[in-house]
Protein backbone atom coordinates (compact mmCIF):
# COMPACT_ATOMS: atom_id res chain seq x y z
CA UNK A 1 0.00 0.00 0.00
CA UNK A 2 2.68 2.50 1.06
CA UNK A 3 4.84 1.17 -1.73
CA UNK A 4 2.04 1.71 -4.25
CA UNK A 5 1.53 5.29 -3.08
CA UNK A 6 5.27 5.84 -3.34
CA UNK A 7 5.42 4.44 -6.87
CA UNK A 8 2.43 6.49 -7.97
CA UNK A 9 4.18 9.65 -6.78
CA UNK A 10 7.22 8.67 -8.83
CA UNK A 11 5.05 7.89 -11.86
CA UNK A 12 3.40 11.30 -11.55
CA UNK A 13 6.76 13.05 -11.37
CA UNK A 14 6.24 14.14 -7.76
CA UNK A 15 9.64 14.42 -6.08
CA UNK A 16 10.37 12.41 -2.95
CA UNK A 17 11.52 14.53 -0.02
CA UNK A 18 13.57 13.45 3.03
CA UNK A 19 10.73 12.87 5.49
CA UNK A 20 8.43 11.10 3.02
CA UNK A 21 7.97 7.36 3.32
CA UNK A 22 10.25 5.46 0.97
CA UNK A 23 11.16 1.79 0.49
CA UNK A 24 14.31 0.84 2.34
CA UNK A 25 15.92 -0.34 -0.90
CA UNK A 26 15.28 3.08 -2.50
CA UNK A 27 16.96 4.79 0.43
CA UNK A 28 19.93 2.45 0.32
CA UNK A 29 20.37 2.73 -3.43
CA UNK A 30 20.34 6.51 -3.18
CA UNK A 31 22.72 6.54 -0.25
CA UNK A 32 25.20 4.37 -2.09
CA UNK A 33 24.93 6.36 -5.28
CA UNK A 34 25.01 9.85 -3.74
CA UNK A 35 27.84 9.07 -1.36
CA UNK A 36 29.92 7.50 -4.14
CA UNK A 37 29.24 10.56 -6.21
CA UNK A 38 30.36 12.80 -3.32
CA UNK A 39 33.52 10.75 -2.77
CA UNK A 40 34.26 11.04 -6.50
CA UNK A 41 34.16 14.84 -6.28
CA UNK A 42 36.48 14.83 -3.29
CA UNK A 43 39.00 12.31 -4.65
CA UNK A 44 38.71 14.04 -8.03
CA UNK A 45 40.48 17.04 -6.54
CA UNK A 46 43.69 15.03 -6.17
CA UNK A 47 44.78 14.42 -9.78
CA UNK A 48 44.10 18.07 -10.61
CA UNK A 49 45.52 19.50 -7.41
CA UNK A 50 48.73 17.84 -8.50
CA UNK A 51 49.11 20.51 -11.20
CA UNK A 52 48.13 23.68 -9.33
CA UNK A 53 51.72 24.55 -8.46
CA UNK A 54 52.91 23.73 -11.97
CA UNK A 55 50.21 25.40 -14.07
CA UNK A 56 51.91 27.21 -16.97
CA UNK A 57 50.61 30.70 -16.18
CA UNK A 58 49.00 32.70 -13.40
CA UNK A 59 45.70 32.66 -15.29
CA UNK A 60 45.75 28.87 -15.62
CA UNK A 61 46.65 28.55 -11.96
CA UNK A 62 43.76 30.76 -10.86
CA UNK A 63 41.34 28.85 -13.10
CA UNK A 64 42.52 25.46 -11.85
CA UNK A 65 42.26 26.60 -8.24
CA UNK A 66 38.69 27.76 -8.87
CA UNK A 67 37.86 24.45 -10.49
CA UNK A 68 39.28 22.37 -7.65
CA UNK A 69 37.43 24.57 -5.16
CA UNK A 70 34.23 23.91 -7.09
CA UNK A 71 34.83 20.15 -6.78
CA UNK A 72 35.09 20.53 -3.01
CA UNK A 73 31.80 22.42 -3.07
CA UNK A 74 30.19 19.72 -5.20
CA UNK A 75 31.34 17.11 -2.70
CA UNK A 76 29.69 19.14 0.03
CA UNK A 77 26.35 19.51 -1.82
CA UNK A 78 26.28 15.77 -2.35
CA UNK A 79 27.28 14.81 1.20
CA UNK A 80 24.49 17.10 2.42
CA UNK A 81 21.99 15.37 0.13
CA UNK A 82 23.13 11.97 1.41
CA UNK A 83 22.82 13.15 5.01
CA UNK A 84 19.12 13.85 4.49
CA UNK A 85 18.75 10.07 4.17
CA UNK A 86 19.92 9.65 7.74
CA UNK A 87 23.59 8.81 7.40
CA UNK A 88 26.21 10.95 9.15
CA UNK A 89 28.94 12.81 7.34
CA UNK A 90 31.58 11.32 9.62
CA UNK A 91 30.41 7.82 8.77
CA UNK A 92 30.63 8.56 5.05
CA UNK A 93 34.13 10.00 5.38
CA UNK A 94 35.09 7.01 7.50
CA UNK A 95 33.85 4.63 4.79
CA UNK A 96 35.87 6.49 2.16
CA UNK A 97 39.07 6.56 4.20
CA UNK A 98 38.92 2.89 5.10
CA UNK A 99 38.37 1.91 1.47
CA UNK A 100 34.90 0.53 2.14
CA UNK A 101 33.14 3.09 -0.04
CA UNK A 102 33.83 3.40 -3.75
CA UNK A 103 34.39 6.42 -5.95
CA UNK A 104 34.64 6.83 -9.69
CA UNK A 105 37.52 4.75 -11.05
CA UNK A 106 38.64 7.49 -13.39
CA UNK A 107 40.42 9.27 -10.55
CA UNK A 108 42.73 6.33 -10.07
CA UNK A 109 44.58 7.28 -13.26
CA UNK A 110 47.62 9.58 -13.00
CA UNK A 111 47.94 13.11 -14.46
CA UNK A 112 51.28 12.86 -16.23
CA UNK A 113 51.35 16.15 -18.13
CA UNK A 114 49.74 19.60 -18.09
CA UNK A 115 47.74 18.50 -21.09
CA UNK A 116 46.03 15.92 -18.88
CA UNK A 117 44.31 18.78 -17.05
CA UNK A 118 42.78 19.76 -20.37
CA UNK A 119 41.78 16.18 -21.16
CA UNK A 120 40.18 15.75 -17.74
CA UNK A 121 38.10 18.89 -18.17
CA UNK A 122 36.99 17.99 -21.67
CA UNK A 123 36.55 14.20 -21.43
CA UNK A 124 36.14 13.33 -17.76
CA UNK A 125 34.00 16.32 -16.82
CA UNK A 126 32.25 15.96 -20.16
CA UNK A 127 31.28 12.39 -19.33
CA UNK A 128 30.30 13.37 -15.78
CA UNK A 129 28.09 16.15 -17.13
CA UNK A 130 26.09 13.73 -19.32
CA UNK A 131 25.32 11.77 -16.20
CA UNK A 132 24.67 14.83 -14.05
CA UNK A 133 22.34 16.54 -16.51
CA UNK A 134 20.20 13.40 -16.43
CA UNK A 135 20.33 13.39 -12.62
CA UNK A 136 18.90 16.93 -12.43
CA UNK A 137 15.57 15.17 -13.00
CA UNK A 138 16.13 12.35 -10.52
CA UNK A 139 13.20 11.47 -8.25
CA UNK A 140 14.82 12.38 -4.91
CA UNK A 141 14.43 16.12 -4.28
CA UNK A 142 17.68 16.92 -2.41
CA UNK A 143 19.75 14.97 -4.96
CA UNK A 144 18.06 16.71 -7.89
CA UNK A 145 18.60 20.15 -6.33
CA UNK A 146 22.28 19.42 -5.69
CA UNK A 147 22.63 18.32 -9.31
CA UNK A 148 21.07 21.49 -10.69
CA UNK A 149 23.57 23.54 -8.72
CA UNK A 150 26.47 21.33 -9.82
CA UNK A 151 25.53 21.40 -13.51
CA UNK A 152 25.47 25.19 -13.49
CA UNK A 153 29.04 25.27 -12.23
CA UNK A 154 30.32 22.28 -14.17
CA UNK A 155 30.02 23.73 -17.65
CA UNK A 156 32.92 26.10 -16.99
CA UNK A 157 35.03 23.04 -16.14
CA UNK A 158 34.48 21.42 -19.48
CA UNK A 159 35.03 24.63 -21.43
CA UNK A 160 38.30 25.45 -19.67
CA UNK A 161 39.52 21.92 -20.39
CA UNK A 162 38.76 22.19 -24.06
CA UNK A 163 40.45 25.59 -24.17
CA UNK A 164 43.66 24.14 -22.69
CA UNK A 165 43.71 21.45 -25.40
CA UNK A 166 42.83 23.94 -28.13
CA UNK A 167 45.78 26.12 -27.13
CA UNK A 168 48.12 23.13 -27.15
CA UNK A 169 46.73 21.91 -30.47
CA UNK A 170 47.76 25.22 -32.03
CA UNK A 171 51.22 25.17 -30.46
CA UNK A 172 54.56 23.58 -31.26
CA UNK A 173 54.95 20.00 -32.49
CA UNK A 174 55.83 18.92 -28.96
CA UNK A 175 52.70 20.59 -27.57
CA UNK A 176 50.53 18.94 -30.23
CA UNK A 177 52.05 15.57 -29.38
CA UNK A 178 51.38 16.16 -25.69
CA UNK A 179 47.76 16.99 -26.49
CA UNK A 180 47.28 13.82 -28.55
CA UNK A 181 48.97 11.71 -25.90
CA UNK A 182 46.56 12.93 -23.22
CA UNK A 183 43.55 12.23 -25.41
CA UNK A 184 44.92 8.75 -26.08
CA UNK A 185 45.28 7.97 -22.40
CA UNK A 186 42.01 9.48 -21.15
CA UNK A 187 39.63 8.37 -23.92
CA UNK A 188 38.98 4.78 -22.84
CA UNK A 189 38.83 5.42 -19.10
CA UNK A 190 36.29 8.17 -19.86
CA UNK A 191 34.08 5.71 -21.74
CA UNK A 192 34.31 3.36 -18.77
CA UNK A 193 32.88 6.05 -16.52
CA UNK A 194 29.40 5.22 -17.80
CA UNK A 195 29.65 1.75 -16.27
CA UNK A 196 29.05 -1.78 -17.64
CA UNK A 197 27.02 -2.46 -20.75
CA UNK A 198 23.24 -2.63 -20.45
CA UNK A 199 23.25 -6.22 -21.73
CA UNK A 200 24.97 -7.34 -18.52
CA UNK A 201 21.70 -6.90 -16.71
CA UNK A 202 18.99 -9.39 -17.56
CA UNK A 203 16.40 -8.30 -15.02
CA UNK A 204 14.14 -5.33 -14.55
CA UNK A 205 15.96 -2.22 -13.62
CA UNK A 206 14.82 -0.85 -10.30
CA UNK A 207 16.74 2.42 -10.60
CA UNK A 208 14.87 3.26 -13.79
CA UNK A 209 11.51 2.29 -12.32
CA UNK A 210 12.21 4.58 -9.37
CA UNK A 211 13.42 7.26 -11.76
CA UNK A 212 16.71 7.61 -9.94
CA UNK A 213 18.26 7.14 -13.37
CA UNK A 214 16.48 8.06 -16.56
CA UNK A 215 18.87 6.84 -19.20
CA UNK A 216 20.86 3.63 -19.54
CA UNK A 217 24.66 3.38 -19.44
CA UNK A 218 24.86 2.56 -23.14
CA UNK A 219 22.51 5.38 -24.07
CA UNK A 220 24.60 7.96 -22.21
CA UNK A 221 27.86 6.49 -23.52
CA UNK A 222 26.60 6.70 -27.11
CA UNK A 223 25.56 10.34 -26.67
CA UNK A 224 29.02 11.07 -25.31
CA UNK A 225 30.82 9.35 -28.19
CA UNK A 226 28.68 11.19 -30.75
CA UNK A 227 29.48 14.50 -29.10
CA UNK A 228 33.23 13.98 -28.63
CA UNK A 229 33.79 12.44 -32.08
CA UNK A 230 32.68 15.77 -33.56
CA UNK A 231 34.47 18.02 -31.07
CA UNK A 232 37.83 16.28 -31.55
CA UNK A 233 37.84 17.48 -35.16
CA UNK A 234 38.08 21.08 -33.97
CA UNK A 235 41.27 20.16 -32.14
CA UNK A 236 42.66 18.47 -35.25
CA UNK A 237 43.34 15.44 -33.06
CA UNK A 238 42.09 11.84 -33.21
CA UNK A 239 40.49 9.40 -30.79
CA UNK A 240 42.48 6.19 -30.21
CA UNK A 241 39.88 3.83 -31.66
CA UNK A 242 40.31 2.31 -35.15
CA UNK A 243 36.67 1.16 -35.08
CA UNK A 244 35.27 4.64 -34.53
CA UNK A 245 33.11 5.31 -37.57
CA UNK A 246 29.90 7.18 -38.41
CA UNK A 247 27.06 4.73 -38.96
CA UNK A 248 24.57 6.28 -41.35
CA UNK A 249 21.81 3.76 -40.68
CA UNK A 250 22.00 4.09 -36.89
CA UNK A 251 22.57 7.83 -36.99
CA UNK A 252 25.33 7.32 -34.43
CA UNK A 253 29.06 6.65 -34.27
CA UNK A 254 30.09 3.00 -33.94
CA UNK A 255 33.00 2.44 -31.59
CA UNK A 256 35.30 -0.36 -30.44
CA UNK A 257 35.05 -2.71 -27.49
CA UNK A 258 35.97 -1.39 -24.06
CA UNK A 259 38.55 -3.28 -22.02
CA UNK A 260 36.27 -4.43 -19.22
CA UNK A 261 39.00 -6.38 -17.52
CA UNK A 262 40.84 -3.13 -16.94
CA UNK A 263 37.64 -1.51 -15.68
CA UNK A 264 36.96 -4.15 -13.02
CA UNK A 265 40.59 -4.26 -12.09
CA UNK A 266 40.60 -0.55 -11.28
CA UNK A 267 37.25 -0.82 -9.48
CA UNK A 268 38.69 -3.60 -7.32
CA UNK A 269 41.51 -1.34 -6.22
CA UNK A 270 44.31 -2.30 -8.60
CA UNK A 271 44.37 0.84 -10.73
CA UNK A 272 47.55 2.88 -11.14
CA UNK A 273 46.77 5.28 -8.27
CA UNK A 274 44.16 3.66 -5.98
CA UNK A 275 46.57 3.34 -3.10
CA UNK A 276 48.07 6.78 -3.55
CA UNK A 277 44.62 8.45 -3.60
CA UNK A 278 43.46 6.85 -0.38
CA UNK A 279 46.75 7.61 1.31
CA UNK A 280 46.47 11.26 0.30
CA UNK A 281 42.92 11.46 1.68
CA UNK A 282 43.90 9.78 4.92
CA UNK A 283 46.90 12.06 5.33
CA UNK A 284 44.77 15.17 4.81
CA UNK A 285 42.18 13.87 7.26
CA UNK A 286 44.75 13.10 9.96
CA UNK A 287 46.64 16.35 9.51
CA UNK A 288 43.39 18.31 9.75
CA UNK A 289 42.25 16.55 12.90
CA UNK A 290 43.70 19.10 15.33
CA UNK A 291 41.97 21.90 13.42
CA UNK A 292 38.58 20.21 13.67
CA UNK A 293 39.06 19.49 17.35
CA UNK A 294 40.36 22.96 18.14
CA UNK A 295 37.41 24.56 16.35
CA UNK A 296 34.86 22.59 18.37
CA UNK A 297 36.73 23.28 21.63
CA UNK A 298 36.82 26.98 20.83
CA UNK A 299 33.12 27.02 19.99
CA UNK A 300 32.27 25.27 23.28
CA UNK A 301 34.43 27.63 25.30
CA UNK A 302 32.88 30.65 23.64
CA UNK A 303 29.37 29.35 24.28
CA UNK A 304 30.31 28.68 27.91
CA UNK A 305 31.63 32.20 28.34
CA UNK A 306 28.50 33.75 26.88
CA UNK A 307 26.39 31.67 29.27
CA UNK A 308 28.46 32.73 32.29
CA UNK A 309 28.21 36.38 31.36
CA UNK A 310 24.47 36.09 31.07
CA UNK A 311 24.24 34.44 34.49
Amino acid sequence: MLEQQFQSKIDNEIKIEPKDWMPEAYRKTLLRQISQHAHSEVVGMLPEGNWITRAPSLKRKAVLLAKVQDEAGHGLYLYSAAETLGFSRDQMIHDLLTGKAKYSSIFNYPTLSWSDIGAIGWLVDGAAIMNQVMLCRTSYGPYARAMVRICKEESFHQRQGFEILLTLSQGTEAQKAMCQDSINRWWWPSLMMFGPKDSESTHSDQSTKWKIKRKSNDQLRQEFVDMIAEQVKILGMTLPDPDLKWNESRGHYDFGEINWEEFWNVVKGNGPCNKQRLEARNKAHEEGRWVREAAIAYAQKKAERTKNQAA
Binding site: K19, D20, W21, R27, K28, T29, L31, R32, Q33, Q36, H37, S40, A66, D70, A72, G73, L76, S80, E83, L85, F87, S88, R89, D90, Q91, H94, D95, T98, K100, A101, K102, S104, A127, N131, R145, A146, R149, E153, M193, F194, G195, P196, D198, E200, S201, T202, H203, D205, Q206, S207, K213, N217, L220, R292, E293, A295, I296, Y298, A299, K302
Partner: protein, 121 residues
Protein backbone atom coordinates in the same frame (compact mmCIF):
# COMPACT_ATOMS: atom_id res chain seq x y z
CA UNK B 1 16.88 -12.81 -6.80
CA UNK B 2 17.07 -9.56 -8.71
CA UNK B 3 20.33 -8.68 -10.40
CA UNK B 4 21.04 -5.02 -10.09
CA UNK B 5 22.46 -2.99 -12.93
CA UNK B 6 25.46 -0.87 -12.04
CA UNK B 7 25.86 2.66 -13.20
CA UNK B 8 28.55 5.28 -12.98
CA UNK B 9 28.67 6.33 -9.36
CA UNK B 10 26.85 3.20 -8.34
CA UNK B 11 29.46 0.50 -8.01
CA UNK B 12 28.61 -2.20 -5.49
CA UNK B 13 30.57 -2.31 -2.26
CA UNK B 14 32.91 -5.27 -1.85
CA UNK B 15 30.94 -6.69 1.05
CA UNK B 16 27.76 -6.55 -1.01
CA UNK B 17 26.24 -4.09 1.44
CA UNK B 18 25.48 -0.49 0.74
CA UNK B 19 27.32 2.22 2.58
CA UNK B 20 24.00 2.59 4.38
CA UNK B 21 24.70 -0.47 6.49
CA UNK B 22 26.67 1.00 9.32
CA UNK B 23 28.65 -1.94 10.62
CA UNK B 24 31.52 0.25 11.73
CA UNK B 25 29.89 3.00 13.75
CA UNK B 26 31.70 6.28 14.09
CA UNK B 27 31.05 8.15 17.28
CA UNK B 28 29.60 11.55 16.63
CA UNK B 29 30.10 13.51 19.87
CA UNK B 30 32.84 15.56 18.23
CA UNK B 31 30.96 16.17 14.99
CA UNK B 32 30.50 19.75 13.99
CA UNK B 33 26.76 20.44 14.07
CA UNK B 34 24.73 20.76 10.89
CA UNK B 35 23.51 24.21 9.80
CA UNK B 36 20.90 25.21 7.25
CA UNK B 37 21.88 28.08 4.98
CA UNK B 38 19.57 30.80 3.64
CA UNK B 39 20.70 33.37 1.12
CA UNK B 40 19.29 36.68 -0.07
CA UNK B 41 20.33 36.89 -3.69
CA UNK B 42 19.75 40.64 -3.87
CA UNK B 43 18.30 43.47 -1.84
CA UNK B 44 14.52 43.37 -1.90
CA UNK B 45 14.22 39.58 -2.13
CA UNK B 46 13.59 37.01 0.62
CA UNK B 47 16.29 34.80 2.02
CA UNK B 48 15.90 31.40 0.41
CA UNK B 49 17.08 28.01 1.62
CA UNK B 50 20.07 26.88 -0.46
CA UNK B 51 21.50 23.91 1.41
CA UNK B 52 23.35 22.89 4.52
CA UNK B 53 26.85 22.47 5.91
CA UNK B 54 28.75 21.54 9.05
CA UNK B 55 30.52 24.13 11.19
CA UNK B 56 31.72 24.46 14.76
CA UNK B 57 29.82 27.70 15.39
CA UNK B 58 27.67 30.32 13.68
CA UNK B 59 30.58 32.48 12.61
CA UNK B 60 32.29 29.57 10.87
CA UNK B 61 28.98 28.51 9.34
CA UNK B 62 28.57 31.95 7.75
CA UNK B 63 32.11 31.97 6.40
CA UNK B 64 31.78 28.44 5.03
CA UNK B 65 28.43 29.34 3.51
CA UNK B 66 30.09 32.24 1.75
CA UNK B 67 32.77 29.90 0.37
CA UNK B 68 30.44 27.21 -0.87
CA UNK B 69 27.19 28.95 -1.72
CA UNK B 70 28.24 32.40 -2.99
CA UNK B 71 31.36 31.71 -5.07
CA UNK B 72 29.69 33.33 -8.08
CA UNK B 73 28.10 36.30 -6.36
CA UNK B 74 24.86 34.45 -5.63
CA UNK B 75 24.18 36.43 -2.48
CA UNK B 76 24.33 39.67 -0.54
CA UNK B 77 23.19 38.32 2.81
CA UNK B 78 23.44 34.98 4.59
CA UNK B 79 21.40 33.46 7.41
CA UNK B 80 22.44 30.26 9.13
CA UNK B 81 20.45 28.29 11.67
CA UNK B 82 21.36 25.05 13.37
CA UNK B 83 19.32 22.30 11.74
CA UNK B 84 18.23 20.89 15.11
CA UNK B 85 16.21 24.06 15.75
CA UNK B 86 14.07 23.69 12.65
CA UNK B 87 10.62 22.27 13.26
CA UNK B 88 8.73 20.88 10.32
CA UNK B 89 5.18 19.78 9.57
CA UNK B 90 4.73 16.06 9.15
CA UNK B 91 4.35 14.93 5.52
CA UNK B 92 2.27 11.93 6.69
CA UNK B 93 -0.38 14.35 7.98
CA UNK B 94 -0.37 16.52 4.87
CA UNK B 95 -3.87 15.49 3.70
CA UNK B 96 -5.65 16.43 6.93
CA UNK B 97 -3.29 19.23 7.84
CA UNK B 98 -3.95 21.23 4.68
CA UNK B 99 -7.56 20.11 4.34
CA UNK B 100 -9.09 23.34 5.73
CA UNK B 101 -8.04 25.23 2.58
CA UNK B 102 -9.52 22.68 0.19
CA UNK B 103 -13.13 23.99 0.10
CA UNK B 104 -12.46 27.71 0.20
CA UNK B 105 -12.21 28.68 -3.42
CA UNK B 106 -13.81 32.02 -2.53
CA UNK B 107 -10.39 33.08 -1.24
CA UNK B 108 -9.24 33.42 -4.83
CA UNK B 109 -10.15 36.47 -6.94
CA UNK B 110 -11.20 34.24 -9.84
CA UNK B 111 -14.16 32.98 -7.76
CA UNK B 112 -16.07 36.20 -8.43
CA UNK B 113 -17.99 36.53 -11.71
CA UNK B 114 -17.99 40.19 -12.68
CA UNK B 115 -18.96 42.00 -15.90
CA UNK B 116 -16.19 42.42 -18.50
CA UNK B 117 -16.68 46.17 -18.71
CA UNK B 118 -15.55 46.51 -15.11
CA UNK B 119 -11.93 47.68 -15.27
CA UNK B 120 -9.08 48.24 -12.82
CA UNK B 121 -10.14 45.42 -10.54
Amino acid sequence: MMIRKFYYGDIPEDAGTGSGSANTEVKSSKDWPLWEVFIRSKQGLDHKHVGSLHAADAEMAIENARDVYTRRMEGVSIWVVESQYIHASNPDDADSFYEPANDKVYRHPTFYQLPDELSHM
